[in-house]
């Protein structure tokens, strides 16, 4: 039985892949960078432009996760080795003025980074 990795697609990136997920032979996929190159070759410039910007960095509206860890938080980023059974998720976020708000760091309890003041209305 071949060792495989699964790639899941969330968001409009599915309109390029035509599927919600697919599996790849681990030997074919190699590490994350090789997998992404394989996907770009398979799905073309539209796919590439939604995931990457000029210079090869990630598009700000794209997220790539190995398991539940995003690329910027992976110790070696795109050079992360893929294991048998690894699940790679590619999310292209619909561009609109929402998205996450920002973590103010007010929930860290004692020793929090910023003294929080609460106003009663």
């Amino acid at each position: 039985m071949k060792a495989t990795v699964t790639v899941c697609y969330t968001g409009a990136i599915r309109t390029y892949t035509g599927k919600r997920s697919e599996s790849f032979d681990l030997q074919e996929a190699g590490n994350l960078r090789a997998l992404m190159a394989l996907l770009v070759a398979r799905y073309g410039k539209g796919f590439e432009s939604r995931v990457f910007v000029e210079g090869g960095g990630l598009n700000n509206l794209a997220r790539v996760l190995v398991g539940e860890v995003e690329v910027p938080e992976l110790p070696v980023g795109m050079d992360t080795a893929l294991e048998p059974g690894s699940v790679v998720t590619i999310i292209t976020i619909t561009a609109l003025a929402g998205g996450e708000n920002l973590d103010p760091g007010v929930h860290e309890g004692p020793g929090q980074r910023h003294g929080i003041r609460v106003d009663q209305s």
Partner: protein, 851 residues
């Protein structure tokens, strides 16, 4: 003697206004479940106890007797302006089944065929982003104002500050110039409640001078020290002439700032591109060694002007090219273009440069910072033009050359750097906005233009944040843009596109291409009249919206706190009326999308354990908001906490308020990457057969280019412009009848406004009924009003009036003229760099009937 009614409830409830985009914090006085008064929230760091006429009048929208309270189905298949939809009341069950069935069919086949159109970014933004991503459609437009919005503002702000929005620092500035903007003094994002008092204090305490450049003496100009009337669409020439005065006449510029924080020292070769070494590193001319060295080499002392030789080619620092470039704009030439006297241009530039006090410092909170108390800001008036992107860059150059960027007294990005985010250094050392706030397309690192996949064809505008003006043409001709699908369903809410975009007739024809339109509506406006199904939506005083004071835009900049609020319902909605976002989340269950919705929610919003939504069960909408809050702010700060306490604040550190001295990444004064995108866009458009697609605006330095209204005017001798009214916002404020009464009592509010000298030349008089016609065959009719505060070549048309929706005609009264009906939809009027639509049009004015 009547018995006094027993009062069971008499409370003031906190919430957030939504009569424009400022998100002012309010208190609603509720007696026995009825809102009787709205005031500003004195505890608010945003607007304090101040709330404007629109905010006060929100009550009238809440209790508008024409509100939609039941689902409606269209029975008349014909659609068009003035056509009666012949609504039939249907049950929620039937409506939900019909909508869910269509959604499921689309999602199972091609999710792109769903288009969501809304300007409800404060309500829909975060949950809607999640919903649309889970659904899989890339086709969401957040606003009809995408025609005349920040098209040429946001790309500049992202590039320079690393933020979506930018603001003058009224806490410390001494000289402020507004180009086509009523910053601090009008509606929408300009927060008069918070900023107008700061401006007043600046003038009293520091003698701040306010100069307003605008063809119309608007609300801001009427409060200014000096109003400079300008010919519409020529702000670029004025700004470049002022830069020329600073650089080449006065020698006023901040050399240290330009050297350290911009790409001013980067060497530019004969091809207009950066000069690089063998490893691809951008070179500067090192004055210490007299050799070219990488920009980030240890100990390098870059030159910012001069001519050098590298590899046998003549090269120049980028700033040198800027300095030479603006010599094309001597004040005398600018006078011809703008009609602003040369002496005035020179004087204003000199005053601005002197006020900047280059080299001065200020000590704040014990730290010494550069102090540049001079600033320019701009908005739609300057950039809603055929070459708007150049206007944005030219005006921003004024701030840049004096070093007034993200320092006290200068021009501030609202939220570039926060407690745990800041811009990063991208390719070539240039600024990349933090991923945490970059929620739209950002201009750097450069996006790759490709054949469109979206109904905005946004892929053809890689530098812009959105491309809404393309929508009608792509809806009509998707194959022209290489799309292999058509929109089959539109969900629309809080977006009266027919009135707030251009050319209602063209938009109507485009919307007729969409087989199924669902509108969530509080009232039946002009766009809702195109719907097949109408679902009743809540008024803003009945909604729960998470964090409407979004930190990337709708908060105060500079030396103030970070703060978060909630738009909490102050009264219950009428029976059967539900918030549209809640309904969308319910529909996710109907179409089998809950798993995707919750996993996308958890991932997109980075929900922490243990607050993640469980895909195994359905969560109420309030539970999802609660999870979001607790993940962001900690377990004790859920929805209930916000309902009780309302405002969450935390101090903003000095380096967050004024980040530039603390940041390493540089920002561009020479748009090398923008210039390179032009040929790339041209290659894609050529492949699509769009031979007329003009990419000549993709150049490294800004230039003034004329709008269509500028020349060959002939009998169309005036230029019509739109001007904002402080007591209206877009078209939806007309549903609050107090504002209509106010409008009807304001002399120019529903008139077309002309300079008396111009009128005299034409034999026209105050009160005449006139016809206003354009070369494209568009016409509006209105009463003429005369006002000295209008540029002699201009016809000013205020607000968004001229309502024709059947319900609105019952309470709006005199409809007044609809400016946007004068603008013919044609791609030639769209700026191919920013996607702005040209909002000035040449017209001829003739009397129909004497007043």
């Amino acid at each position: 003697m009547a018995t006094p009614k027993t009062v069971h409830e008499d409370v003031w409830k906190p919430s957030v206004c939504y009569m424009c985009y400022n998100a002012c914090n309010i208190l609603a006085h509720v007696i026995d479940g009825v809102v009787v008064k709205i005031e500003g929230n004195p505890n608010s760091p945003h607007n304090g106890s101040r709330v404007c006429a629109k905010g006060n009048a929100a009550i009238m929208g809440l209790y508008n007797p024409y509100r939609v309270t039941k689902p409606l189905k269209r029975t008349n298949p014909e659609k068009g302006i003035g056509v009666d939809p012949k609504w039939e009341v249907i049950s929620w069950e039937e409506a939900r089944a019909v909508v869910a069935s269509k959604l499921k069919e689309i999602r199972d086949t091609d999710a792109r065929k769903l288009y969501v159109l809304t300007f409800d970014m404060q309500g829909f933004g975060t949950p809607g982003n999640v919903w649309a991503t889970a659904f899989g459609t890339p086709n969401v437009s957040t606003g009809p104002s995408g025609y005349f919005c920040g098209n040429a503002l946001h790309p500049v702000s992202w590039s320079v500050h690393g933020t979506f929005f930018q603001e003058p620092d009224y806490d410390y500035t001494k000289y402020c110039i507004l180009f086509g903007s009523q910053h601090g003094l009008a509606a929408f994002t300009k927060n008069p409640g918070g900023l107008a008092p700061k401006m007043a204090e600046a003038r009293v305490k520091r003698g701040m001078k306010l100069v307003v450049v605008d063809p119309y003496c608007n609300n801001a100009a009427s409060k200014a020290n000096e109003w400079i009337p300008i010919r519409p669409g020529t702000d670029t020439a004025l700004a470049l002439a002022m830069v020329n005065v600073l650089l080449n006449e006065e020698g006023i510029y901040d050399r240290e700032f330009l050297t350290r924080y911009t790409n001013g020292p980067y060497l530019i070769g004969p091809d207009g591109c950066y000069v690089r070494d063998a490893e691809g590193r951008v070179l500067v001319w090192d004055m210490a060694s007299g050799t070219p060295r990488p920009f980030d080499a240890e100990g390098v002392q870059p030159a910012i002007d001069g001519t050098f030789e590298v590899g046998g080619a003549e090269v120049h620092p980028a700033f040198h090219l800027v300095k030479e470039h603006v010599k094309k704009y001597p004040v005398e030439r600018a006078e011809e273009i703008t009609t602003v006297p040369a002496a005035t241009i020179r004087r204003i530039a000199q005053e601005f440069g002197q006020a900047a006090s280059i080299g001065s410092t200020i000590t704040l909170h014990g730290k010494v910072l550069p102090y540049r108390p001079a600033v320019v800001d701009w908005s739609k008036g300057a950039i809603a033009h055929q070459h708007g992107m150049h206007a944005g860059w030219a005006i921003q150059l004024l701030n840049t050359v004096i070093g007034a960027v993200d320092v006290p007294g200068g021009h501030l990005g609202v939220s570039a750097k926060g407690p745990d985010w800041e811009p990063t250094e991208g390719p070539d050392g240039m600024l990349v906005p933090s991923q945490r706030i970059a929620f739209l397309g950002i201009p750097y690192p450069p996006q790759k233009p490709v054949a469109p996949n979206t109904v905005e064809a946004a892929e053809l505008f890689p530098f812009a944040s959105y491309a809404m003006p393309m929508l009608p043409d792509v809806l009509m001709n998707p194959e022209k843009y290489g799309l292999d699908y058509r929109i089959e369903m539109m969900i629309q809410s809080r977006s009266n596109y027919l009135m707030t975009s251009v050319d209602p007739e063209a938009v109507t024809e485009a919307f007729k291409q969409i087989p199924f339109i669902v509108s969530f509506a509080v009232n039946i406006d002009e766009t809702v009249e195109m719907a097949d199904i109408v679902l009743p939506d809540t008024h803003v005083l009945e909604r729960l919206d998470a964090l409407p004071n979004r930190i990337y835009g709708w908060i105060l900049p500079g030396d103030s706190d970070w703060y978060w609020t909630v738009r909490a319902p102050v009264v219950d909605p009428p029976p059967g009326v539900r918030p549209w976002v809640e309904v969308l989340y319910d529909l996710a269950e109907d179409i089998g999308m809950l798993d995707d919705l919750y996993s996308t929610f958890n991932r997109n919003l980075k929900i922490k354990d243990p607050f993640k939504l469980d895909p195994g069960r359905q969560h109420s909408y309030e539970e999802t908001v609660d999870a979001y809050f607790k993940s962001l702010f900690g377990a004790e700060h859920g929805v209930e906490w916000f309902k009780q306490n309302f405002i969450l604040k935390t101090p903003r550190k000095l380096e967050e308020a004024y980040p530039r001295p603390f940041l390493k990444p540089r920002f561009p004064i020479y748009l090398e990457h923008f210039q390179r995108q032009g040929p790339q866009v041209a290659a894609v458009t050529a492949q699509l057969g769009l031979e007329d697609w003009d990419v000549s605006d993709y150049q490294a330095l800004p230039d003034w280019r004329p709008c269509s209204s500028y020349s060959d005017r002939g009998e169309f001798d005036l230029i019509a412009i739109n001007c904002k009214q402080a007591f209206h916002s877009f078209s939806y404020t007309v549903d609050a009848v107090w504002l209509n009464e106010l409008t009807d009592n304001y002399p120019d509010a529903k008139a077309v406004v002309m300079n008396p000298d111009t009128a005299a030349r034409k034999g026209l008089r105050q009160g005449d009924m006139v016809s206003v016609r354009t070369p494209d065959g568009k016409e509006v009719r209105a009463v003429l009003s005369l006002f000295e505060g209008v540029h002699p070549e201009v016809l000013a048309i205020p607000g968004v009036h001229g309502h024709w929706a059947r319900d609105r005609k019952k309470y709006v009264g005199n409809p007044g003229p609809h400016f946007n009906s004068l603008l013919a939809y044609d791609l030639k009027y769209i700026d191919k760099a920013s996607s702005a639509f040209d909002a000035c049009v040449k017209v001829k004015v003739a009397r129909i009937q004497a007043g």
